[in-house]
């Protein structure tokens, strides 16, 4: 896939230029977290603790990879359904998350929070886990290793293909 090349972390200026439907190739670092990790981080925040993962400026990819073979940084690594994280997303965005990456529509509350916090939601193609894994050059567990496939990872991506699904004005592709 072609598209506009963007380096992470995202700046306000870059977010301003992104419009729904734009094809984008992301390069840089992303934080990987899905259902169980979101629940734990959210509960830590609610109980007044410092979030165990740095959310400031983060790009969160909703994903749980298959195990890596010996010679690969990661296994299959496509997006999971973003809607399951909707409950937590407004809080995460208010704490500095700049972008989320997943598949499928977001709730009205999330869209509102995206506008309010000047953020963006990207969609990756669901079911493309083998192909997307080729854009991931490194991966390490940074939090909750006991969660297995749901542990929090820091990954480095190169030309990772996504589409702007909700832009900072609140327009949605779905």
């Amino acid at each position: 896939m072609d598209g506009k090349r963007i380096s992470l972390p995202l700046t306000d200026e870059v977010i301003d230029t992104l419009r729904v439907g734009d094809k984008v190739l992301l390069s840089g670092e992303m934080t990987v977290a899905r259902d169980a990790a979101h629940k734990r981080i959210y509960e830590a925040i609610l109980s007044g603790e410092e979030p165990p993962v740095d959310l400031k400026g983060a790009v969160i990819y909703y994903m749980g990879p298959s195990p890596a073979r010996e010679d690969r940084p990661i296994g299959s690594a496509g997006p999971t359904t973003s809607g399951r994280m909707d409950k937590y997303t407004p809080t995460f965005l208010s704490l500095g998350v700049r972008a989320t990456v997943g598949k499928g529509a977001r709730s009205a509350e999330v869209t509102e929070a995206i506008v309010k916090n000047h953020a963006v939601y990207f969609a990756a193609v669901g079911g493309c886990g083998a192909l997307l894994s080729k854009c991931i050059t490194s991966s390490r567990v940074i939090c909750y290793p006991d969660l297995g496939a749901e542990a929090v990872l820091r990954i480095t991506v190169e030309d990772f293909p996504v589409i702007v699904a909700v832009d900072c004005t609140g327009s949605s592709i779905y």
């Binding site: 896939m1 439907g21 169980a36 994903m63 749980g64 990879p65 298959s66 195990p67 890596a68 073979r69 690969r72 296994g75 299959s76 690594a77 496509g78 999971t80 359904t81 809607g83 598949k103 499928g104 529509a105 969609a123 193609v125 669901g126 079911g127 493309c128 886990g129 083998a130 192909l131 894994s133 080729k134 969660l147 297995g148 496939a149 749901e150 293909p161 589409i163 592709i173 779905y174």
Partner: protein, 280 residues
């Protein structure tokens, strides 16, 4: 009485769960390319090309087609003249699933309890459905069902007065609500009739049908064609980003039901409809 060692099942199931996670039927990638060419929307074309390429990479490099390598669902059709030896049948089936998911670097997605949610670490237990049939063979169908699409599946207890129109509306509603989360182009397994659990099981079983095959009776085959046409007019498209191809197939199964009811179950499957049948 024919003796069948359950160890054979373990080995066959282990091989099958690995195979289905790396490969779809050989002509699927080229079918996706043909769909790409027919799509009018450039994004839809590009998505279908990506899906085709994904299949090639998965097969060539033995990377799972999708990171959600599914919950294993195993259908057993056991001939009544078969005598199983060397151990417990269901233990052997689960051992095959465990072996396949561990040795194949497949994701372990099963938790031991819906509330405690502790991962079992080996993707067991499988969901096992058993039928006793005439003969001395064992037919094992292994499928790996991802939950992006499973979560979008629905069951409707309609009234007889709702008829075919009600069934169509139920299927269309399910597809619209599934949207991008179900990783279209989807395959829909539709069970109509029976009771609450029977129609759900028919919907699941309908997904196991060979590609390109339609329902045995003409009425159901017509319903499948018409539903597919209606679904593809929704414009949801590949990956839910818009386009002409929202579903690849609609597979309908029907069976006798009660005078008071018209149960309909829609089991949604993503574009990766993984299953394989072995006859022992």
């Amino acid at each position: 009485m024919r003796e069948v060692s359950v160890k054979t099942l373990t080995e066959e199931i282990a091989t099958a769960v690995m195979w289905i996670n790396f490969n779809l039927e050989p002509d699927t990638a080229s079918a996706f390319c043909r769909i790409a060419l027919a799509e009018r929307d450039p994004v839809a074309r590009e998505v279908m090309e990506q899906l085709a390429k994904n299949l090639e990479v998965a097969s060539k490099e033995q990377i799972p087609i999708c990171q959600d390598t599914g919950m294993a669902v195993v259908f057993l059709e056991v001939g009544q003249d078969v005598h199983f030896t060397d151990g417990d049948l269901y233990t052997a089936v689960n051992e095959g699933v465990r072996k396949g998911y561990v040795e194949g670097f497949l994701r372990k997605s099963v938790v031991s309890d819906p509330f405690d949610r502790v991962n079992t670490g080996d993707n067991t237990p499988a969901v096992i459905h058993t039928d006793i049939v005439p003969g001395d063979k064992v037919k094992v169908t292994v499928s790996a069902k991802g939950f992006g699409s499973e979560n979008k599946s629905r069951l409707f207890m309609l009234n007889p007065a709702d008829g075919e129109e009600g069934v169509r509306a139920a299927v269309l509603q399910t597809v619209r609500e599934a949207g991008a989360s179900a990783c279209p182009p989807m395959t829909l397994g539709v069970g109509i009739g029976g009771n609450f659990e029977k129609c759900a099981l028919m919907a699941k079983h309908a997904l196991l049908r060979e590609k390109g095959e339609s329902a045995a009776n003409e009425r159901d085959a017509r319903l499948e064609r018409e539903l597919l046409d209606e679904i593809n007019k929704t414009g949801i498209g590949p990956a839910g980003l818009g386009g002409d191809t929202t579903a690849l197939a609609v597979n309908v199964e029907t069976c006798p039901t009660h005078i008071a009811g018209l149960p309909v179950a829609v089991n949604v499957c993503c574009h990766v409809n993984r299953h394989k049948t072995i006859i022992i």
